[in-house]
């Protein structure tokens, strides 16, 4: 009996680059699967895809996918990607980042990428801590949570990534989890289809660090938390006050048509050339 090879494999550097670095129970591989399925649905040629990343667990993803891949410096995936997109607008550029990479060291870059509405899809895997360096707190660590650098509990409030990106001007903003995979596939697909800057936040477990530090159990228990502690935006209206307390809302929060940066730049070139022509 010959085994059927899943179609996802043709997008992976499966023979050379595996096994991957991620821990058992990590959610990043699930996000990688969602990205690949969305890419397949888009029908993009692998030669025309650029995946950029910064530093961290999520940022190791580019090693495993058979695209043009760029593992940049910490927090800078989006700005490397901005250069790639400007130099060759035909390329489909996506940036994969962890919460620390995207929102702490890369925080300035992501708000400006959203403000510019540069044609890039940002996929932020949010596992509430810095996994690669051993579980320090990040800008999305919930108040009170324990990490290796908050031994007495986190005293800083956390970022709401989706509100931040809405306020900064992104065209598309969604939040999913690695438990709700079909929903996540769909969100990433819609983000790819969107002109301008699109953002998908994927909540993911980090059983090795965040889970152990907060006694949240193993991979299965942490998946259960993602299932129990989140609600879809469509469920919100039907719920009574109090029922939503402590729940994280999943769904598409922003989906607006706005002129993307590359469209604006093209128009600028035309305007400049016309003005120069008129001067003659």
């Amino acid at each position: 009996m010959s085994a059927t090879i899943p179609y996802e494999y043709k997008y992976l550097r499966s023979k050379k680059r595996f096994p991957h670095v991620w821990c058992p129970g990590c959610g990043i591989g699930i996000v990688m699967g969602s990205i690949i399925r969305a890419v397949d649905t888009m029908g993009w040629d692998k030669d025309d895809i650029v995946m950029v990343s910064g530093i961290g667990c999520t940022s190791r993803m580019p090693v495993y996918v058979d695209f043009n891949t760029l593992h940049a410096t910490h927090g800078r995936g989006l700005v490397f990607g901005t250069g790639v997109k400007m130099a060759n607008p035909k390329l489909n550029v996506m940036a994969v980042m962890g919460d620390g990479d995207a929102l702490a060291i890369g925080g300035n870059h992501i708000i400006h990428a959203a403000r510019r509405n540069i044609d890039i899809t940002a996929i932020i895997v949010n596992n509430n801590n810095y996994g690669m360096t051993g579980g320090q707190f990040s800008p999305t660590t919930p108040p009170g949570a324990r990490t290796s650098t908050t031994p007495y509990g986190m005293i800083e409030p956390a970022f709401d990534v989706c509100k931040l990106m809405d306020g900064a001007g992104a065209s598309f903003v969604a939040r999913g989890t690695v438990y709700h995979v079909t929903e996540l596939d769909n969100m990433i697909l819609k983000a790819f289809m969107k002109k301008g800057f699109s953002v998908v936040e994927a909540l993911a477990p980090c059983p090795t660090n965040f889970g152990r530090a907060n006694r949240l159990g193993g991979p299965v228990e942490m998946m259960q938390i993602l299932k129990d502690n989140t609600i879809n935006i469509s469920q919100l209206k039907a719920m009574k006050p109090g029922q939503t307390d402590g729940k994280i809302v999943r769904g598409i929060f922003v989906d607006r048509d706005s002129i993307s940066y590359m469209e604006r730049y093209e128009a600028l070139c035309e305007k400049a050339k016309k003005a120069a022509e008129a001067k003659k």
Binding site: D47, V63, L70, G83, C269
Partner: protein, 380 residues
């Protein structure tokens, strides 16, 4: 026509850098405003949309140099312009570009430091930062123009060298050179050599992003050209994937070094005036070289002969030539707009019997010919 080929114009140093970039076929500029380099970004913001080239003002200098690297990987010749504080921020990206062998050009119009320092005034305080600013061992090429025409020529050379050696090249005009205006006779377009972006000609399945060729440099494919590869700042193998194997790590690090040190002849660029016959030498670069030339003329009238040694390429330092030409001299005066940086290189390449004498100026003003004359008179 943006570059006034074959014409004579009154041009500012920074303007000549911008024109040189256009002449070298720049495709992408990303920058952040900073005195005294801003004219370069402003002028390119005017020129580049007219040529359908890409220009962007980023949110900071780290973003700027990062975007440059992305831009060159996607197939556009890329440059940024900055000054001391911004140059410090760019060290992260410079190290990344050295490691990943992405050719970019970084212009640092040097102002007084440290920190915010003297934003509108001249210094040569970044020559060592240019060499060792990024962490880890890494190759560096840096060029220092001394007049407006050289701003144009050396910008083109910076692009050419970056493509030839597949490494970042730093242009180091000081503020005096960046803001000076001079008459420039522009060359004819056909007389200017512009190195095109090398492209691989091997089948896709044979492509190695860091191929170990005899020149230690291999043509770099662009994203989207069908050669899919991985780029990382981690130590990597010849395909670009992370490695910790000793033989691969050593091979990469040695090749990074050798691609510069084994081709010094193509990089070395020095100017010498009366060096052979003079026991006293003025070692000067950038704007200070101009004062050295004037000082030499004044001293000649006083019947004192001094030689001038000027490195145009600061890094790699012209070790062999300095050793050969200066090691038997009596005195070498090293005037610099800093508290003594390149003087250590001169000391390194000359024996103890040679008196190497510093002359510093750190108040933001130029070293005058008279100051050099006085210093020479004191030592001879």
């Amino acid at each position: 026509m943006i570059v006034p080929w074959g014409e004579t114009r009154l041009v500012q140093g920074n303007e000549a850098v911008a024109l040189g970039a256009v002449a070298a076929n720049i495709g992408f500029f990303a920058g952040y405003p900073i005195t005294p380099s801003t004219e370069i970004a402003e002028l390119l913001a005017q020129y580049m949309p007219l040529l359908d080239k890409k220009w962007i003002q980023m949110e900071d200098e780290i973003a700027s140099i990062s975007a440059l690297i992305g831009g060159r990987l996607a197939g556009s010749k890329s440059m940024t312009a900055t000054s001391g504080p911004g140059f410090s921020l760019m060290q992260e990206g410079l190290g990344y570009a050295c490691m990943t062998e992405v050719p970019i050009v970084v212009v640092n119009v040097m102002r007084g430091g440290p920190s915010t320092g003297l934003p509108t005034q001249a210094a040569q305080g970044d020559v060592m930062q240019a060499r060792w600013g990024a962490h880890g061992d890494h190759p560096v090429i840096a060029l220092a123009p001394c007049n407006v025409k050289e701003c144009f020529e050396l910008t083109i050379r910076a692009f050419n060298l970056s493509e030839t050696f597949r490494t970042p090249v730093i242009l180091l005009p000081d503020e005096i050179i960046g803001h000076m205006r001079e008459r420039v006779v522009f060359p004819l377009k056909e007389d200017v050599h512009v190195v095109p972006m090398p492209v691989p000609d091997v089948p896709v399945e044979w492509y190695e992003h860091y191929h170990e060729s005899t020149s230690n440099v291999s043509p770099m494919a662009s994203f989207g050209s069908g050669y899919r590869y991985h780029v990382t700042g981690l130590l990597h193998d010849k395909h670009g994937f992370p490695t910790r194997k000793e033989n691969e790590v050593i091979a990469k690090m040695e090749r990074l070094k050798h691609k510069i040190t084994r081709r010094l002849d193509e990089l070395e660029d020095v100017q010498m005036h009366n060096v052979e016959e003079s026991p006293v030498i003025i070692f000067a670069y950038g704007s200070v070289y101009r004062s050295a030339l004037a000082a030499q003329a004044i001293l000649k009238k006083k019947r004192k002969t001094v030689g001038i040694f000027r490195p145009v390429t600061l890094w790699p330092f012209p070790d062999r030539t300095v050793k050969e030409m200066l090691d038997s001299k009596d005195v070498i005066l090293v005037p610099e707009l800093n508290q003594g940086q390149m003087i250590h290189e001169v000391e390194r390449m000359t024996r103890d019997s040679v008196r190497v004498v510093p002359l510093h100026r750190i108040d933001g003003y130029e070293i005058t010919p008279e100051e050099i004359v006085d210093a020479v008179m004191e030592v001879i």
